[in-house]
């Protein structure tokens, strides 16, 4: 059971940041995970008054406030038009509508959870995070950083023209995924993002140019094999490493074929 001594709705990012420099301060996201912890929190800082709960679409990017919910991600017309529905596809099996009305994009990204559908999706796009002190850095870099006491303010997705396909394997429809797989092609750059390995999502790029002549059955198969070699997998209660590696192969190949309109 979590206990909280003080609760503050920050008036500014500076205030939130200052409070967060104390060790027993926590920034609240959707509180889904934090609620289950058995810890004593000194000050819980809520960013709810800072206007960070919107998705703003400009000519060249989506700017997603950290407090935006997964449900907003699921329903945003612009984002889903851009991702061809991959955004909705990535989150729609996460527990239920109620939870997705609460869980925040910022919380998901900050947590850098292994099982994260959101992280997998975002890594397949040209995504950066905006940190209050750390500035704007690529999500890929951020995902490998240790948690510090900075504050995640926004997610920025640059609208590079591209194609996106999302899939995940679950033992039960609304369970944590056994494996997540996002495929993308932006300006000719291919990415396979593999998450829930069960470790955190990683990007696999077409370093060997397997897809340089486009997607066909053979090239999809070749890249899928490559991805299966590149993505280290492990075991947990949901599945073992060998099975996960097979899933990397299958989901990557199928995703690529879909990406190629086949």
């Amino acid at each position: 059971m979590i206990t909280i001594q003080n609760y503050v709705q920050a008036e500014s990012l500076e205030e939130a940041y200052t409070l967060n420099q104390r060790k027993n301060t926590r920034i609240l996201g959707g509180m889904i995970w934090m609620k289950m912890e058995d810890t004593a929190v000194g000050t819980a800082v809520d960013l709810c008054r800072l206007g960070l709960d919107t998705i703003e679409e400009t000519e060249d990017q989506f700017i997603i406030g950290a407090m935006t919910t997964l449900r907003q991600l699921e329903l945003h017309p612009g984002l889903n038009a851009y991702t061809k529905g991959a955004a909705a596809c990535a989150v729609r099996d996460i527990v239920g509508v109620q939870l997705r009305n609460m869980a925040t994009v910022g919380g998901s990204v900050w947590g850098r959870f292994g099982f994260s559908d959101v992280l997998t999706l975002l890594l397949s796009m040209d995504t950066s995070v905006e940190l209050y002190k750390g500035g704007v850095i690529p999500l890929e870099q951020f995902s490998e950083m240790k948690k510090d006491r900075d504050i995640l303010v926004r997610i920025r997705i640059r609208k590079r023209p591209g194609q996106f396909v999302y899939s995940a394997m679950r033992n039960q429809r609304t369970d944590f995924p056994v494996l997540t797989c996002a495929l993308s092609q932006m300006d000719g750059e291919y990415r396979a993002v593999i998450g829930a390995r069960p470790a955190r999502a990683m990007i696999i790029r077409d370093e060997d140019g397997l897809l340089k002549d486009g997607i066909c059955e053979a090239s999809a198969e070749a890249f899928a094999s490559y991805a299966a070699q590149q993505a280290p997998t492990g075991s947990n209660s949901r599945a073992g490493a060998a099975y996960r590696t097979q899933l990397v192969h299958v989901l990557t190949r199928r995703g690529l074929l879909k990406l190629g309109g086949m």
């Binding site: 509180m31 509508v97 109620q98 009305n101 609460m102």
Partner: protein, 160 residues
């Protein structure tokens, strides 16, 4: 600390502990329809509406609900009565423990999408577990409510 919120249309101001979960606040205020079925945000039994959106009251701090409008089944009896009889006719109420959360989320569904398909119903209510009914009776109940509304000539959600 002080929290001010609107509960079922009535303003409430109260001193609460910062870690008091909304579900416990609501039950302490006589909203016994709000049930706890898990501690892991996964069963949907504690569903209430916060500013018209369905949320899990087990995962919200009461202080966070400050300034918002909270509706529980106690405050939406009439809206529920419109359709729950159809679920009763299927016998799908069963033990009833999951019913309030299920009914609340169905209210949210029908407000958002007055004429859902079966698949839309299943998807929207996926976060509401029921161990008794096998779900199909709930679906049949909602379906026959929608049919009866159509037959009455009421356009989608026109009564609201």
């Amino acid at each position: 600390m002080e929290v001010k919120l609107t509960l079922n249309g009535k303003p409430v101001t109260e001193q609460v502990e910062p870690d008091l979960l909304l579900i416990d606040f609501l039950r302490a205020h006589g909203c016994y329809s709000v049930k706890r079925g898990c501690e892991t945000s996964g069963c949907g039994l504690c569903t209430v509406l916060m500013d018209d959106r369905p949320i899990l009251s087990c995962s919200v701090l009461t202080v966070r609900a400050g300034g918002h409008s909270i509706w529980t089944l106690e405050g939406l009896q009439q809206e529920a009565e419109d359709f729950v009889g159809f679920i009763a006719d299927q016998g799908a109420d069963q033990c009833g423990f999951c019913n309030p959360g299920f009914v609340m989320n169905t209210i949210a569904l029908l407000r958002e999408n007055p004429d859902p398909t079966d698949d839309e119903i299943r998807a929207y209510l996926a976060g509401n577990l029921c161990r008794c009914s096998g779900y199909d009776g709930q679906l049949r109940g909602i379906r026959s409510y929608l049919e009866s509304r159509r037959q009455k000539g009421g356009s989608h959600g026109a009564e609201r």
